[in-house]
Symmetry: C2
Subunit: 216 residues, 2 copies
C-alpha cells in the first residue's frame, strides 16, 4: 500500500538526507518525493512511501528530528490528480484540444476516475524539443498531445525519446511536418484529439490506441 506524508521542516542542507536515510533504514521504498521552499522560509516535503508496515512508527520517527515541525498524512498525488494528459503547442489548438479533453475527463471523473489535463502553449522547434524532453521528468503522464500546425526537425527526436524511455503515448494533430509520422495516433479535429486522449487512458472507457491504424 502507498502512503503519502507532508512534512514541514527547517530549510537547510541535510534535512532531506536525514529523513530519506531514516526511511531507507526501515526498508521502506520512497517512490516519489518533492521538496520545495515555502514563502515563510521553511521547506515543505511531500513524500510517497511503498512497502510500509507501520506508518505511525514512521510518522513518529520523522517528527522527532529537531528540524521537523509537522508531519501529516495526506492523500497521494495519484489519489488527487490521477493520470495526466499534457497538451503543448500553439494557443489556438491547445485550447481546443483542452476543451475536448476536459469535457471528456469530466465525464469519467464523475464516475470515480482521476484524470488531469495540463497544458503549456509554447511554439518554436527548440522550445518544443526541450518541453517534450521535460515531459519525461513529470510524474503520472500517460499521454502527450501535440497541438500545432507545423512540427518537425529535432521535435521528432524528443518524441522518440519519451515514447521509448517513459512509455508515454503521443497523439498528434494532423499537421504539416514529420511529427505526424511518429505519433501513436493522428487526429484532425482538435476537440476529438482531446476526447480520444482521455478515452485512451480512462478505466471507464474502452479504447485501445494501438488498434487505430488510420488518420482520423
Amino acid at each position: 500500500m502507498t502512503f503519502a506524508l507532508n512534512i514541514r521542516a527547517m530549510d537547510k542542507p541535510g534535512v532531506l538526507g536525514k529523513i530519506t536515510s531514516y526511511i531507507a533504514k526501515k526498508n521502506v521504498n520512497i517512490i516519489f518525493t518533492q521538496v520545495y521552499n515555502q514563502p515563510d522560509g521553511n521547506a515543505s516535503t511531500y513524500i510517497e512511501l511503498e512497502n510500509v508496515e507501520d506508518i505511525d512508527e514512521i510518522i513518529k520517527g520523522i517528527s522527532e528530528f529537531s528540524e521537523v515541525f509537522e508531519v501529516m498524512q495526506s492523500p497521494t498525488m495519484n489519489d488527487v490528480w490521477g493520470k495526466r494528459i499534457i497538451i503543448i503547442g500553439g494557443g489556438a489548438q491547445v485550447s481546443q484540444v483542452a476543451l475536448g479533453a476536459i469535457t471528456e475527463a469530466d465525464r469519467h471523473n464523475i464516475r470515480g476516475e482521476h484524470i488531469s489535463v495540463d497544458t503549456l502553449p509554447i511554439v518554436g522547434e527548440e522550445n518544443l524539443t526541450q518541453t517534450i524532453r521535460a515531459v519525461g521528468s513529470l510524474p503520472r503522464v500517460k499521454v502527450l498531445v501535440l497541438a500545432g500546425s507545423l512540427m518537425g526537425g529535432t521535435i521528432v527526436d524528443s518524441i522518440k525519446e519519451i515514447k521509448e524511455k517513459y512509455g508515454i503515448k503521443v497523439i498528434s494533430l494532423n499537421m504539416v511536418g514529420s511529427v505526424r509520422d511518429h505519433a501513436d495516433l493522428v487526429v484532425t479535429d482538435p476537440v476529438q484529439a482531446g476526447v480520444m486522449a482521455v478515452m485512451s487512458i480512462a478505466n471507464t472507457a474502452q479504447f485501445d490506441i494501438g488498434r487505430v491504424k488510420e488518420v482520423l
Copy 2:
C-alpha cells in the same frame, strides 16, 4: 544560480538518501527533488540545486555512486513549465476558463514568459476540499481558479488554508455559495476569469489583482 540534474539510478531504498546527503555535505541547497519509478524498473531522480559553486564536481561525485547509471544536467522545471495556474470545478466551466487562460498564456509565452495552465474537472464538496488542499503540495502554483456553479461548506476552509499557508491567489467564478466571499477576485465570464488569471501573474502584463474590489 539554480541548476537541475536528472539522475537515473537503481530503484532501491537508500539511494536518494545517499545522493542528498552527499549534496548537503557540499553545502548546496536542494530546493526541489522528485523521484519516481520508471517503467524499466529503475528510479529517475530530478533535483534542483541552489547555491552551487561547482556543478561539474557535483555531477562527477554523484556519477561515482555504484547505484547511479547516468547524471545529466537539464533545464529547471521553472525554465520549462514556469508559473502554474490551476483550474478546478465542473467540466463545462473548467473548459471555458481554460480556453481564456491558454489563449492569454500563449500571448505572453510567445514573448518569453512561461505560464502553464493545469486543470482537473472534479465536483463534490469533499473532492473539492481535498483537491484544493493538495494544491498546496504542488510547486510553482500562483493562481487557483474555482470554476463551478455552487461551492461552499468545507471548501472555504481549504481556500483559507492555501491562501494563508502558500500565498496562492484565488479567483472564483460568480457562483452560488460562500466560496465567492473568500476569493481575491470574482469574475462572471469564465473566459475572462482565465484571461485575468494569466494577466495577474505575467511579467509581460500590468494587472494587480489586489486593486480590483468589484465583482466583474
